[in-house]
């Protein structure tokens, strides 16, 4: 029924955002807490990163093949034998970006492996490099979307806004995954609870910065994308965006409750009733946030194959092929 590209995009976005989120979380957000965390948590997080990386590479390859097929207009079987794949890889902006992203994925794999070693975990170089590679892998997703290709200064600004938008999304939604894992494995002793509290507080601080970035870059993207207010209600694209807003509002509301009401109650050890309740609710809330985030990613996957409201008016002299 639905375009296979939607599923491939959704998987690729989810995998890329999650693996970047774990990297950001481990290096920047909850570094000290992560160092004290149990070997089990560290093992889980490493497993998540390797799986996500593999999934990202596989879905990335599938995405590339589907786009090559659509660009050339030839049936799937034919593009493997002709030089189509090579033409797309070497002669199109998309192909070159995809090659760069593959190189970044390989680099990220090496750097993450180094990060896991005791030497690497202390090295500022490795930590900076792995965060940069992760940010690069996420940011270059902008070239898989419409933010590029616009001519002139406008094109550059729009692309830059989209790059930052993607990185901020990974820093917030992606980092929720390791936060959830950390909270779910928090022990009841005072030290673990204090660790959970510290991680959540630091996460919120970064979260505010991410939301702020999403806001500014979102406004810039809106400026270029929204054709009219009526397009919001009248087009598929507009309705999907409205759904995304609603879900986003939900996430922000939950985050506010987590930060303002629950986290301050994480005092002492988890045997105190208030503290235990707070931890339990926090766990549940963060898991809910992750699930809502996943739905938002699914919507983004569909949005990418839907003509934006602003472009519905530009059709008089052309027919287009949607894929």
């Amino acid at each position: 029924m639905a375009d296979p590209l939607i599923y491939v995009r959704a998987i690729h976005f989810a995998a890329t955002i999650t693996l970047a989120g774990v990297v950001f979380f481990v290096v920047c957000i909850a570094g000290p807490v992560f160092r004290d965390a149990s070997a089990k948590v560290r093992l889980w997080l490493a497993w998540i990163v390797w799986s996500a990386l593999l999934l990202a590479v596989l879905s990335g390859a599938a995405w590339f093949v589907l786009v090559a097929q659509s660009m050339s207009g030839q049936p799937l079987a034919d593009i493997f034998s002709g030089g189509i794949l090579w033409t797309v890889l070497s002669q199109t902006g998309f192909g070159r970006d995809w090659l760069l992203r593959f190189a970044l994925a390989c680099l990220l794999a090496i750097l993450f492996a180094l990060l896991l070693s005791t030497q690497g975990a202390k090295s500022v170089w490795i930590k900076s490099a792995v965060v940069t590679a992760a940010a690069g892998l996420v940011g270059t997703l902008a070239w898989a979307g419409h933010a590029v290709g616009g001519p002139g200064i406008e094109g550059i600004v729009h692309a830059a806004a989209d790059v930052l938008h993607l990185i901020a999304a990974a820093a917030w939604v992606g980092a929720l995954v390791p936060l959830a894992l950390l909270l779910l494995t928090t022990g009841r002793d005072a030290r673990s609870v204090a660790g959970a509290r510290a991680a959540t507080v630091r996460f919120s601080t970064f979260g505010i910065a991410s939301v702020g970035t999403l806001l500014v870059t979102g406004a810039i993207n809106t400026w270029y994308l929204v054709g009219s207010v009526h397009a919001l209600a009248d087009t598929d694209y507009g309705r999907l965006v409205l759904t995304k807003v609603a879900l986003f509002l939900g996430m922000v509301a939950i985050a506010a409750v987590n930060r303002l009401r629950l986290t301050p109650r994480l005092v002492g050890d988890a045997n105190a009733v208030a503290s235990a309740n707070a931890l339990r609710q926090l766990r549940r809330n963060v898991v809910i946030e992750v699930l809502v985030g996943a739905v938002i990613i699914a919507i983004v996957a569909v949005l990418g194959v839907t003509p934006p409201g602003a472009h519905e008016d530009l059709m008089p002299h052309a027919h287009h092929h949607s894929h």
């Binding site: 659509s70 002669q91 199109t92 999403l214 810039i220 807003v245 509002l249 990418g304 052309a318 287009h320």
Partner: protein, 118 residues
């Protein structure tokens, strides 16, 4: 106050979703779409709304009988596509273009122009 800011902010964020489709549509052409020109043009120039991928974009110009009157390979740079023409006799000509935008979406379209007599 804070709630208003939050709501407006969230609406703005939502639209900043990026990664949506953009197609290269014909913005303007020379000769002008549907126009009649007195002197036969040497080339057709097409300007699009998005930057194009040269590897997968093309254009054909045909006469009333369907025969090709262009020089074959279009010159594509940025959002502009240009193709040389053979000497055109007065009459009706059709331009059929295929565009692949840099963000991987295909569009095509056509228009006519007329070369008037002396």
């Amino acid at each position: 106050m804070r709630m208003h800011i939050t709501i407006v902010s969230c609406l703005l964020i939502a639209f900043g979703t990026g990664a949506a489709q953009a197609h290269a549509f014909l913005d303007h052409a020379s000769p002008l779409v549907g126009s009649t020109v007195r002197n036969a043009p040497r080339e057709v120039t097409l300007s699009f709304t998005q930057n194009l991928e040269p590897a997968f974009s093309s254009v054909e110009v045909t006469d009333a009988g369907g025969g090709r009157v262009d020089q074959g390979k279009a010159e594509i740079s940025g959002s502009t596509m240009r193709i040389g023409l053979k000497t055109l006799a007065p009459g009706s000509y059709k331009v059929h273009w295929h565009a692949l935008s840099v963000d991987t979406h295909k569009t095509e379209g056509s228009f006519s122009f007329h070369v008037g007599g002396p």
